[in-house]
C-alpha cells in the first residue's frame, strides 16, 4: 500500500479541534428547573447515567477520529502495492461478435461488457491511460490511447455488437503489442464464456478476462443454401441447417418464404446439441429472396433468420451458329431452360440475331459479338486470340483446375482428341485446359460478355468427347457461366465474409434492408462488400446494374451460447485495477466506510436523545 498524495495526511490535524469540541461537548449543560420532584420519580428506578451512557461519549469520540482517519486516508489516495503510483496503460478488448447480442446480460451481453468497461474507466486515476479495441472480424481501435475519460466513455457508449464472428486472438495480440513508456499494458478482455474458450493457450495467462452473460439455451439457423437444378434451373433445391444448443430435444419450426410468400413450414426434430440439415424444393423463375425464420424467439435474434438470393432464371435464348453438329446441338437442347435456335454462318453474317448466348461452331464472326459467346474449334484469329496451326492428338497434360467453375465435375481422363487448334490467347484469357502448354480451353471472365473458347474439334470422328459424360457436364458449366448463373448469385454469405462484386466501386451504392448504407471497398476487379454488421439482404446498385446479396450469421460458434465445459470463468485478479473491486479505488472504499461510521455515530446520537 502506498499513498499517491501523502501531503493530504496534514488534514489529520483536524483531529485537534475535534477533540477540543468533544471536550466542550461532554461538559454537561446545567439546567435550572423549578423542582426535581418529577425527575426524581423518573430516575428513581434506573441509574440516571448508566455505564453505557458514560462510555458512549468515548465511543463517539473514537468513531469521529476513525471517521477523520478514513477521510484523510481517502484524500491521500492510497493504492495497493501491486498498483504503484506509476501510470498504467489499460487496454480494453471488447468482443463485438454476434453472441454478445444475446439478451441474457444486462440486458444484453454487450451492455454488460460496456458497463464493465465503464467501471474500469471510471476507476482510472488521472495519470492512467486506456485504449479501447473492438474485437470483430478484424480488430478495430475504437479509442486511441488517452487519459481523457470523457472520450473513453463516449467511445464505450458507441460500442455495439455486430452479427459477425470475432477474432479475439488477433484483437488480444494487437492489444498486447501496444507497448508504451509504461511497459506492458494491462489487457482486459471482455467477452462471453464461449468467446473466451477460443483464446489461444499462450494468451490466456497473460491477460485479465471478464465473461459476460450466463449459460443460455438457443436454437439457430446455421445455414441456408439454395441452388437451381443443373438440368432445370427453374427448380430450386435448398438445404437448411438448424442447430439445437440446448440440453433437451426440441422440434424447431421454421417458416420458409419466397418473396414473403410462405411456401413451407419445416419441423426439424433435434436432439440436445444436435445440428441437422433439412432439404426442401420449390419452383422459381423470377428470382427473389428465400427466407427461413424460426417461429420461436430466443436469446439471440440474429440466428433466428437466414436469407438466400434466387437469380432471375428465365428461359435463355441460345443461338447455335453451325453448319451442323448433332452432338453439340443435342447437348444444348438437353437443357430445359435453354431455347436453342440453329442458324448457319451465312444466316448469321446476313442478320445477327438477338440472343442471350451465342455458340459458334467452327465459325468466328467479324467483329466478335458483344454477348456471352462460346467458340468451338475456331477457324481464324480474333481480337482475343491468335489462331495457330492445327495439332493432332493433343494430350491433356495439365490436370484441370478443380476450383474452376467450368471444369466442375468434368473428368477428362482417357478422353481422346484427334484434332485441335493452337491458340494463343491474350492476357485476359484464362487457360483452363492445356496440352504441353498449349491452351485447349480458354475463359475470358468478362462481367458483361464472358467468352469461352474450346479449341478441340468436337465433331464425331474428330474426338470421343461427345461420347463421354464429361461433354454434357462441360457444356452445362459453360452455359451456366455464360448465362451468368454463378453460385455466388444463387446462395448466401456469412456476415463475416467479404463478397467481391464485378462492379465499379466508384459508382456502387450498397444499402441494407433498412436503407442503411453499407461501406464498399475498391479492388482491382471491382468492389467488395463485407463484413456486414447485421444479418440482412443488401442491394448493390451501379447505374442500371442491381444485385442483391444475402448475409446470414450462419456460425454455430456464435449461436452456441453455452460455454464449453473447459471454459474458465473470469480472471481479473491479475489486473492491477482490482478484481472484484476493480472499479472501486481505495478512496471510494474509505469514503464508503466513513459514511458507514457516520451512520453509526448518528445512530448513537439518536439513541442518546430518543431511546
Amino acid at each position: 500500500m502506498s499513498l499517491l498524495s501523502p501531503m493530504a495526511l496534514a488534514w489529520a490535524a483536524v483531529a485537534l479541534p475535534i477533540i477540543g469540541l468533544y471536550i466542550l461537548r461532554i461538559r454537561r449543560r446545567r439546567q435550572i428547573v423549578p423542582t426535581l420532584l418529577f425527575w426524581d420519580q423518573i430516575f428513581q428506578d434506573t441509574a440516571p447515567r448508566s455505564l453505557w451512557r458514560r462510555l458512549r461519549h468515548w465511543l463517539s469520540l473514537l468513531l469521529q477520529l476513525a471517521l477523520l482517519t478514513l477521510l484523510v486516508l481517502a484524500l491521500a489516495d492510497p493504492v495497493s502495492t501491486g498498483r504503484s503510483s506509476k501510470p498504467v496503460h489499460y487496454v480494453l478488448v471488447i468482443d463485438q461478435s454476434a453472441s454478445m447480442k444475446a439478451t441474457d446480460g444486462a440486458p444484453a451481453r454487450i451492455d454488460e461488457a460496456r458497463e464493465r468497461a465503464m467501471r474500469l474507466v471510471n476507476g482510472m486515476r488521472s495519470q492512467d491511460e486506456a485504449t479501447i479495441i473492438g474485437a470483430g472480424v478484424m480488430p478495430t481501435v475504437l479509442s486511441g490511447r488517452t487519459q481523457h475519460q470523457p472520450m473513453l466513455r463516449a467511445a464505450l457508449r458507441d460500442v455495439h455488437a455486430a452479427d459477425t464472428t470475432a477474432d479475439l486472438n488477433a484483437a488480444v495480440r494487437l492489444a498486447r503489442s501496444l507497448t508504451g513508456a509504461q511497459g506492458e499494458p494491462e489487457v482486459l478482455l471482455i467477452s462471453d464464456a464461449s468467446g473466451l474458450a477460443t483464446l489461444d493457450a499462450d494468451l490466456t495467462g497473460e491477460i485479465a478476462t471478464h465473461a459476460c452473460g450466463r449459460v443460455t439455451n438457443n436454437i439457430a439457423i446455421t445455414g441456408l443454401a439454395v441452388r437451381p437444378r443443373s438440368d432445370n434451373p427453374l427448380e430450386l433445391q435448398g438445404i437448411l441447417r438448424v442447430g439445437n444448443y440446448t440440453d433437451a430435444a426440441v422440434a424447431a419450426e421454421v417458416k420458409l418464404t419466397l418473396n414473403d410468400n410462405l411456401f413451407d413450414v419445416a419441423i426439424v426434430e433435434l436432439a440436445a446439441g444436435e445440428e441437422k440439415v433439412h432439404a426442401f424444393r420449390t419452383l422459381n423463375s423470377e428470382g427473389g429472396v428465400i427466407r427461413a425464420k424460426l417461429t420461436k424467439l430466443d436469446a439471440l435474434a440474429s440466428d433466428n433468420v437466414a436469407s438466400a438470393i434466387l437469380p432471375d432464371v428465365g428461359r435463355r435464348k441460345v443461338t447455335l451458329v453451325s453448319t451442323g453438329d448433332l452432338f453439340l446441338e443435342s447437348v444444348l437442347r438437353s437443357h430445359l431452360w435453354m431455347e436453342v435456335m440453329r442458324i448457319t454462318p451465312e444466316e448469321y453474317a446476313k442478320s445477327p440475331p438477338m440472343s442471350d448466348i451465342l455458340v459458334f461452331d467452327g465459325f468466328v464472326p467479324e467483329p466478335l459479338p458483344n454477348a456471352p459467346s462460346l467458340y468451338v474449334y475456331p477457324t481464324r484469329s480474333s481480337r482475343l486470340w491468335t489462331l495457330g496451326a492445327e495439332i493432332n492428338n493433343p494430350i491433356v497434360s495439365d490436370l484441370p483446375d478443380d476450383e474452376s467453375k467450368l471444369l466442375r465435375h468434368v473428368n477428362l481422363k482417357n478422353c481422346t482428341f484427334h484434332r485441335a487448334r493452337i491458340i494463343q490467347a491474350d492476357s485476359a484469357g484464362n487457360p483452363l485446359i492445356t496440352s504441353s502448354g498449349r491452351p485447349l480451353l480458354v475463359h475470358w471472365p468478362d462481367a458483361r460478355a464472358p467468352v469461352v473458347l474450346l479449341a478441340i474439334n468436337t465433331r464425331a470422328g474428330e474426338s470421343d468427347l461427345p461420347w463421354r459424360t464429361a461433354f454434357p457436364i462441360l457444356m452445362q458449366n459453360i452455359l451456366n457461366d455464360l448465362a451468368g448463373s454463378t453460385e455466388d448469385s444463387l446462395s448466401a454469405h456469412r456476415t463475416s465474409e467479404s463478397v467481391a462484386l464485378p462492379l465499379p466501386a466508384a459508382t456502387l451504392t450498397v444499402t441494407d434492408e433498412t436503407h442503411r448504407m453499407i461501406p464498399v471497398s475498391a479492388t482491382d476487379l471491382g468492389a467488395t462488400i463485407g463484413p456486414v454488421s447485421t444479418v440482412s439482404v443488401v442491394t448493390a446498385t451501379s447505374g442500371n446494374a442491381t444485385r442483391r446479396i444475402a448475409f446470414n450469421l450462419a456460425d454455430s460458434r456464435e449461436s452456441n451460447l453455452r460455454p464449453p465445459p473447459t471454459t474458465q470463468p473470469s480472471r481479473e485478479a491479475n489486473l492491477a485495477l482490482g478484481n472484484s473491486g476493480l472499479s472501486w479505488p481505495w478512496w471510494v472504499v474509505l469514503v464508503a466506510l466513513a459514511i458507514l461510521l457516520s451512520a453509526v455515530e448518528w445512530s448513537l446520537h439518536q439513541r442518546s436523545v430518543i431511546d
Binding site: I26, R28, R29, R30, Q31, I32, V33, P34, T35, L36, L37, F38, W39, D40, Q41, I42, F43, P48, R49, R53, S608, V609, I610, D611
Partner: protein
C-alpha cells in the same frame, strides 16, 4: 422588564369596573359580620341586662308586654383579604411566572380595595417575608405597587404548612385567603391548605406555572439543578424520559385540583403566558375569589 407597565393602573380600574358590573349583588364590599353592632339591619331580641344601653330597649314591647328586651342589630364589618404570595426560588425560575403572580396579586388587591375591603399581602417561602400590612382604600394602591415591585423571591424552598401557621398567628381576624403559588412544596402543599382551612378561613388557590414546566425541551446529558434546594441531579434525558415527565406532570396538576376540591378550596390553574386580566376575570367568574 418592568413588572407594572404604565397603563397597569388603567387596567386595574377596568377590572374593578367589570367586577362590579358583572358580579353586582354578589360581590359586595360590605359584609355582614356575625357580631352585633349598630347598623340599621335588625337582627334579634335579647333580655335586658344591667349595663346595657338604654337606647336599644324596645319601648313598644315594654309597653305591650311589660318585658325589657333589647333590639339587636347586625354589625357591618370590612372583609379582610389576605394574599399569600409564593416568593420561593421556584417562582423565579423564569421572570414571567413571578411577574404574573405579582400582577395577579396587585389586581386582586385593587379590586378588594375598590370594594372597601382590607387587603394584606404576605409573601412567603420557607417562612413569612416582610408583608404589606392590612390596608383599606384605593388611595393606597400606589404604595402597594411600589411594595410589590421591590419584592424579590428568596433563595429558599417552599414550606406552606409552616408559613400558614405563622400567618394564622399574625392575622387579626378570619378572612379570605388567596394563595398564589406554583405549589412546588416538597413538604406537601396539602398540609398547608389543611392548616388554613382548619381555622375557618375561606381559601382560594391560584396555581401559576410555566408552559415549559409541563413540556420541557431538555434532551441529552444535563445537570438538573433544583431552583429551591440547589440540589443537582446528573441525568441523560431521552425522549422516553420526556414522555414520562409529561405524564407525571399531568398527574401532578390533576392531584393539585383534586386536593383543593376535596378541601372545598377554590382552585384555578393558569400558565404565566395567560394575560393577568384574563386570569383575574377567570378567578372572579369561576371562583368568586374576592366576593
Amino acid at each position: 422588564m418592568a413588572v407594572f407597565e404604565s397603563d397597569f393602573l388603567q387596567k386595574l380600574e377596568y377590572l374593578a369596573l367589570v367586577a362590579r358590573r358583572v358580579f353586582r349583588g354578589r360581590i359586595r364590599a360590605e359584609r355582614r359580620s356575625r357580631s352585633f353592632g349598630s347598623s340599621v339591619e335588625f337582627a334579634d331580641y335579647r333580655e335586658y341586662a344591667p349595663g346595657d344601653d338604654y337606647r336599644r330597649i324596645d319601648w313598644n314591647i315594654l309597653a305591650r308586654m311589660d318585658a325589657l328586651l333589647l333590639k339587636l342589630f347586625e354589625e357591618e364589618q370590612d372583609l379582610h383579604v389576605y394574599i399569600l404570595l409564593d416568593a420561593s426560588r421556584s417562582m423565579s425560575s423564569t421572570d414571567a411566572k413571578f411577574h404574573s403572580a405579582l400582577r395577579v396579586a396587585a389586581s386582586l388587591a385593587y379590586i378588594a380595595m375598590s370594594n372597601l375591603d382590607r387587603v394584606a399581602i404576605l409573601p412567603f417561602a420557607d417562612r413569612l417575608l416582610p408583608e404589606f400590612p392590612l390596608t383599606r382604600g384605593k388611595g393606597k394602591i400606589l404604595s402597594l405597587l411600589e411594595y410589590l415591585e421591590r419584592l424579590t423571591p428568596v433563595a429558599t424552598d417552599t414550606h406552606l404548612e409552616q408559613c400558614a401557621r405563622l400567618f394564622l398567628q399574625r392575622r387579626p381576624r378570619r378572612g379570605l385567603v388567596v394563595l398564589i403559588s406554583d405549589l412546588y412544596d416538597a413538604h406537601g402543599f396539602e398540609r398547608g391548605l389543611d392548616v388554613l382551612r382548619f381555622h375557618g378561613d375561606e381559601i382560594h388557590t391560584i396555581h401559576l406555572t410555566e408552559a415549559t414546566e409541563a413540556t420541557p425541551s431538555l434532551l441529552g446529558d444535563l445537570d438538573l439543578v433544583d431552583a429551591e434546594t440547589g440540589a443537582v441531579r446528573t441525568v441523560t434525558v431521552t425522549e422516553r424520559h420526556l414522555r414520562e415527565y409529561r405524564r407525571l406532570y399531568a398527574q401532578y396538576l390533576e392531584r393539585c385540583e383534586t386536593s383543593c376540591r376535596q378541601r372545598e378550596v377554590g382552585y384555578i390553574h393558569a400558565t404565566s403566558d395567560v394575560p393577568f386580566e384574563e386570569l383575574v376575570l377567570k378567578v372572579l367568574r369561576q371562583g368568586g375569589a374576592v366576593a
